[in-house]
Amino acid sequence: MTKIDSDLISKLEQLSRLSLKAAEKEKITNDLNSIVEMFDKLQEVDTIGVEPLRHITHHINRMREDEVRGELTNEQALKNVPKSVDGFIAVPKFLKPK
């Protein structure tokens, strides 16, 4: 049985790009442990030699022609951007001059 401890939670936070507050972290750790216990029930099922199911209908990957289409203007594309400068998406400055 897998135990989700605080080291593993920190690793999952990092992989998920989340930073949880202390109380939230404690609650989620407890919840995840009881959810994983439920997941562990799957180990009872004999799946030796079973091919994992990855597509549920036969109607997959029906591709359209790869044609260039004018979808959005620059202005439209920036409509929901939190911050833009001169038609570009802006993010806070991270590279500091030496």
Binding site: T2, I4, L8, I9, K11, L12, E13, L15, S16, R17, L18, S19, L20, K21, E24, K27, I28, D31, L32, S34, I35, V36, M38, F39, K41, L42, Q43, E44, V45, T47, V50, E51, P52, L53, R54, H55, I56, T57, H59, I60, N61, R62, M63, R64, L72, Q76, K79, N80, V81, P82, K83, I89, V91, P92, F94
Partner: protein
């Protein structure tokens, strides 16, 4: 205003105009505003669309196939130049650049959209309590949840604020609230309705679904919105699928021992057994079949959907759209802070869970294992459908619970999805049909059919 036929008759006779229809629903919305159904009401727009349709009608033009239908849309469906937020703070103020294919097709056939309904954040929840906009309450008893995640969609139909509601169903999110609110809730075969313009939760499970008090309104809406779409590579070319002829009587399977399952409340068990007897009396062959994977449905579902969600929700990074955190010092902090401030607890929990089952060291034990179990149960279900036309199940193990009752216990909330997740795990069409009221609370019975046997499923439901 709860049947398409009667609305159309009144429109035909001139007793009613589309403006009158929309005004009626707007009045209903006003009457039920304490239930917190709508995040946004398109009052002016719906009225002017109605005026346009009345003028078109007066000019003697031919009306579209969905003329007479006013619909609500769940806050996960994109509608150009309208906000869509998936009930989340992270999409505060976000406006769609395009319209979902299903809505575009419906609007072209003279359907009117009246507003955007509340839902669990990113459609993750079974009670409509996980919304940034607060919970929606059940109209039959406001102390009770309406179900979720399309809870408000179900209440929008329940309270006669529209004829049809567009929802989405990843593990029961249309059928379970339909059962709790006493309306029909239909989830199509995977691939039947294009998912283009539906905000993704778990892509191999998600389908747009429809709710109404009137099955024929569901049928007519489906016939307009379904079918292949070049913007969704998993959408099906229905012309290539042979349709099955309706029959007078059917072979209906139910899982043996299901009535004895410890999760089932006595009232649901009785209503289920009564329904079996009614169907038998009507000449159908209703037989128990063995299915030994029932207790593995919920774990399989949550392993796979959280995995898909953790991947799908990577795009909410606070850079290109959505909430952006202030005072971040580096790029990782910007992502982490924006996401942590923007997402609610249930979404974070599922992202963390999904990241766990996909991470090195756990992938085979959980993610791969669940995909193998998904293969096994799809095989078992196929075997059942080789001999039977439908599978009959309760929609939910119990009636709607009290608001707040399960908020602190996500596991208990997950386990309540036991009867609805099967259809999504196998891509099957399924419908929840109102099956009575117990101590003032609605519940439903569910029918599942073979993939792409949706038409017969809907027709049979209408006959019950």
């Amino acid at each position: 205003m709860t049947s398409l036929q009667s609305i159309r008759q009144q429109l035909d006779s001139g007793d009613l105009s589309m403006v009158g229809v929309v005004e009626y629903y707007l009045h209903q919305i006003k009457q039920s505003r304490d239930l917190n159904i709508y995040i946004e009401i398109y009052r002016e727009e719906a009225l002017s669309a109605a005026e346009r349709l009345d003028a078109k009608r007066a000019a003697g033009e031919e009306m579209g196939a969905l003329y007479g239908i006013v619909a609500s849309i769940k806050d996960v469906l994109c509608y150009q130049d309208h906000q869509v937020t998936a009930g989340s703070h992270i999409l505060d103020g976000f406006e769609s650049q395009f319209t979902a294919t299903s809505l575009e097709r419906a609007l072209a056939e003279d359907m009117i959209i009246i507003g955007r309904t509340n839902c669990d954040e990113f459609a993750m929840g079974s009670s409509n309590e996980n919304s940034y906009y607060g919970p929606t309450f059940n109209g039959i008893d406001p102390d009770r949840v309406p179900g979720g995640s399309s809870g408000a969609a179900a209440v929008s139909v329940q309270m006669d604020t529209c004829l049809v509601a567009f929802g989405s169903d990843t593990g029961g999110s249309v059928r379970q609230p339909a059962a709790f609110c006493g309306v029909y809730g239909y989830k199509p075969t995977y691939g039947r309705i294009s998912r283009y313009g539906l905000i993704a939760y778990a892509s191999s499970f998600d389908q747009i679904g429809l709710l109404s008090k009137d099955v024929s309104a569901i049928r007519e809406t489906l016939s307009v919105v379904e079918g292949q779409d070049q913007m969704d590579s998993t959408s099906a070319d229905l012309a290539s699928i042979e349709s099955t002829a309706p029959q007078k009587t059917y072979k209906i399977a139910y899982f043996e021992h299901i009535a004895d399952h410890p999760a089932i409340a006595p009232a649901i068990r009785e209503a289920f057994q009564d329904r079996i007897e009614q169907l038998r009396a009507a000449g159908h062959e209703v037989v128990p079949v063995s299915f030994d994977l029932i207790d593995y449905l919920v774990p399989t579902y949550y392993v796979l959907t959280t995995a898909e969600a953790s991947s799908n929700l990577h795009r909410f990074d606070g850079v290109r759209y959505g909430h952006q955190a202030k005072d971040a010092h580096d790029i990782h902090e910007l992502y982490a802070k924006s996401r942590s401030e923007g997402f609610g607890t249930e979404v974070k929990r599922r992202i963390m869970m999904g990241t766990f089952v996909l991470s090195v060291g756990y992938f085979d034990a959980y993610f791969n294992k669940a995909q193998q179990v998904r293969a096994l149960l799809t095989e078992q279900i196929k075997t059942i459908f080789a001999e039977h036309d439908f599978i009959l199940m309760p929609t939910t193990p119990d009636v709607a619970w009290r608001v707040g009752e399960k908020v602190d216990d996500p596991l208990e909330m997950y386990l309540s999805d036991i009867f609805t997740v099967l259809a999504n795990l196998c891509g099957l069409p399924a419908i929840s049909i109102p099956n009575g009221v117990h101590e003032g609370l609605s519940h439903g019975i569910q029918l599942l059919a073979r993939q792409f046997d949706d038409d017969r499923l809907i027709d049979f439901s209408a006959s019950l």
